[in-house]
């Protein structure tokens, strides 16, 4: 506590020598300050504030703020300003064609309404299923691909390029492809399972299946991404670890399970966070699948429900409330992740 006051004192009192004894530094300041303010009070004040800030934040703080502060403010306004604004709107009753929400009467009505809305509950459950299944599945596929590619194969670049290719495509584009694949009469999905004597299945029409069909399509699009992240993680593991495990007589499977995969924790965490965020953004895919705000029955997620409530039904406040729930879900993933990265000094 005392130390804090001493520091505070120092920041508001410019002193010539930081490392000198306190008494002497203070004495110097009083006379300096008096002389300076007599001559040019304004410049002295500016200099004083500047040096105070410098000492508080570091020597380049003021000079560097020109670079990062304006973009930071612009981003802060659009991201955090908008989220707070959104929270505020979600507490109003804003709907229909009114130009602006009425902020005088704030309550949690929209949130109680959400809890009573079975559509919301279904969408929330679907969102959780999608996030967990999509993330886990994509990570697993990505890991297997990365391990295979890391075995020192030929044409490595070609394979990697092919696996990552879907990631460069828009959700709007891939939705068209998968709509065709899942087509009941002529789609590939049904002709493939047909060769095993199964089907035909109405992939997008059956409420029980459609969500998993969508998850499968998303896995197709993003497992290449998981592979790239894992590949970077694998390349960072020293070769000696492989060799040591081999010398110990561990089988290949055991070596990966016991020695290699535990070292991929960092890669797994960062890939999982990014994938969950992609999963929450699956709106684009579902919208393009049907060309409208209403996704196939059984595949409604919070992201689609939010946009539908706000932009199709014009229930702005209700849409905002759903958005806040979605934001809370994202925050519960991102928050711990950022703390983790900060602790590892990785920011």
């Amino acid at each position: 506590m005392l130390d804090f006051y001493r520091r505070l004192y120092r920041t508001i009192r410019p002193s010539s020598g930081d490392d000198d004894g306190e008494v002497r530094a203070d004495g110097g300041v009083v006379s300096d300050g008096a002389a300076g303010s007599a001559a040019e009070p304004e410049r002295d004040l500016v200099a004083r504030i500047k040096s105070a800030l410098d000492r508080r934040f570091g020597s380049d703080f003021i000079e560097s703020s020109v670079f990062w502060l304006p973009p930071f403010l612009l981003m802060g306004l659009f991201v955090y300003g908008a989220v707070i604004w959104n929270l505020l709107i979600s507490l109003t009753d804003y709907e229909r064609f009114a130009n602006a929400p009425d902020y005088s009467n704030l309550d949690f009505e929209m949130y109680t309404r959400a809890l009573a809305d079975s559509g919301f509950i279904d969408a929330a459950i679907n969102t959780l299923i999608l996030l967990v299944a999509f993330t886990a599945g994509t990570l697993a596929v990505g890991l297997v691909l990365a391990i295979l590619i890391d075995r020192g194969i030929r044409f490595e670049n070609t394979f990697r390029t092919i696996y990552l290719l879907p990631m460069s495509l828009s959700f709007v584009v891939t939705a068209q492809f998968w709509l065709w694949i899942y087509n009941y009469n002529n789609g590939i999905a049904n002709s493939v399972i047909g060769t095993f004597g199964l089907g035909p299945v109405s992939w997008l029409g059956n409420q029980e299946i459609v969500l998993y069909a969508v998850i499968f399509a998303l896995m197709w699009q993003f497992s290449g991404y998981a592979m790239v992240v894992y590949l970077a993680g694998l390349r960072a593991i020293p070769t000696e670890h492989y060799e040591a495990a081999k010398v110990d007589g561990a089988s290949t499977l055991k070596m990966y399970w016991r020695v290699i995969i535990p070292q991929l924790k960092g890669a797994t965490i960062s890939a999982a966070v990014v994938l969950m965020v992609f999963g929450m953004k699956a709106f684009d895919f579902l919208y393009s699948l049907v060309g409208g705000y209403r996704p196939p029955n059984g595949a409604d997620i919070l992201a689609t429900k939010m946009v539908r409530e706000a932009y199709a039904n014009l229930n702005w406040a209700y849409g905002s409330a759903i958005a806040i729930v979605l934001f809370g879900m994202a925050l519960s993933v991102i928050g711990p992740y950022l703390v983790y990265e900060y602790r590892r000094d990785n920011l």
């Binding site: 508080r56 570091g58 560097s64 991201v79 939705a175 966070v273 958005a323 993933v333």
Partner: protein, 315 residues
């Protein structure tokens, strides 16, 4: 220390020979299996795209009669769908370029400046970490959480349509205000990822040159212009490619800010999302042709700059 060295040396040689022997032993069965699996996986990733491509050249009857991944026969071949798709989507391509290119360039540049200010200059690390955390968290925000305020902001607060009335007087449809809004919006939401990408790059930059320049009294601005910016080339490639793909592919903001596909300013993704659906059912050939046409710019970028793309997504 001295007696440990020969032992490690011996161990290394032993493992090298063992590995060599293993390589020769297993070349046959395991490697063949490995390549078969890799090829099957490649097929899995390519089939949806390939079947889309062949379907886009098929006539209505060929779609029903041939397998979805088989090429159309000579009688079932048609370029009609591509012609229609290009007709419908071409103006959307122009509109998309109109906001994707400026937004990409601006956000990359702003990201570079921000990352520089947060990486190279010396100021307290704990404060830097707070700013960085806030910026990085911005990457992961679900955009749904800002949509309604964004609509409010552009429709009620910043009424560009009125401010830019002199532009509409020139004969440009005032729907194009949506394009300007898209540029600003994409720049604002692109700052976090661009900053992060540039920061990972600047963190590894050698301090020596920068420090000696600073000691010689160079200002931060000079250091940026003379040292950091000229060395940022490779990262600019990565960021530009990543941002361009993201902005080009995004549907949500275009849906909210431009809203209707019939608008003269409608971007290509917006038109594509509704293409090929009609009362009579879905025209898959047209949808596939449209999908490919809309994906051409990002596909071209990916094919020519695959390395940079991989680097961008992996960061």
């Amino acid at each position: 220390m001295s007696d440990a060295e020969p032992r490690t040396d011996g161990g290394a040689t032993a493992t090298t020979t063992a590995r060599l022997r293993r390589k020769v032993d297993r070349l046959t069965v395991e490697d063949v299996g490995l390549y078969v699996v890799l090829a099957l996986a490649a097929a899995f990733y390519l089939v949806p795209i390939e079947s889309g491509l062949v379907t886009s050249f098929k006539t209505g009857t060929a779609i029903i009669e041939t397998a979805p991944f088989a090429p159309p026969g000579p009688s079932g071949l048609t370029f009609e769908k591509w012609r229609t798709a290009i007709d419908v989507l071409l103006r959307g391509m122009g509109n998309s370029l109109l906001y994707a290119v400026p937004a990409t360039v601006i956000s990359a540049f702003v990201g570079s400046i921000t990352a520089y200010g947060l990486t190279i200059p010396t100021w307290k690390k704990s404060y830097k970490a707070v700013v960085l955390m806030l910026i990085i968290a911005g990457i992961f925000i679900p955009y749904q959480a800002v949509l309604v305020p964004l609509t409010q902001f552009w429709s009620q607060w910043a009424q560009l349509t009125d401010l830019l009335s002199f532009v509409w007087a020139l004969g440009i449809p005032n729907d194009y205000v949506g394009i300007i809004e898209l540029v600003i919006t994409h720049v604002a939401y692109g700052i976090p990822i661009c900053t992060l990408l540039f920061r990972t790059y600047y963190k590894t930059m050698s301090d020596e040159m920068i420090e000696s320049a600073r000691l010689d009294g160079a200002t931060l601005r000079r250091v940026y212009r003379r040292i950091v910016l000229p060395l940022s080339g490779p990262m600019f490639a990565v960021v530009l490619i990543y941002q361009f793909t993201q902005i080009w592919n995004d549907l949500l903001f275009t849906l909210v800010l431009v809203s209707t596909e019939s608008s003269p300013a409608a971007p290509v993704v917006l038109i594509l999302a509704g293409l090929g659906t009609s009362m009579e059912g879905q025209d898959f050939a047209l949808r596939m042709a449209g999908a490919f046409f809309a994906a051409l710019p990002t596909l071209a970028v990916y094919i020519f700059f695959g390395e940079e793309f991989a680097e961008g997504v992996a960061a």
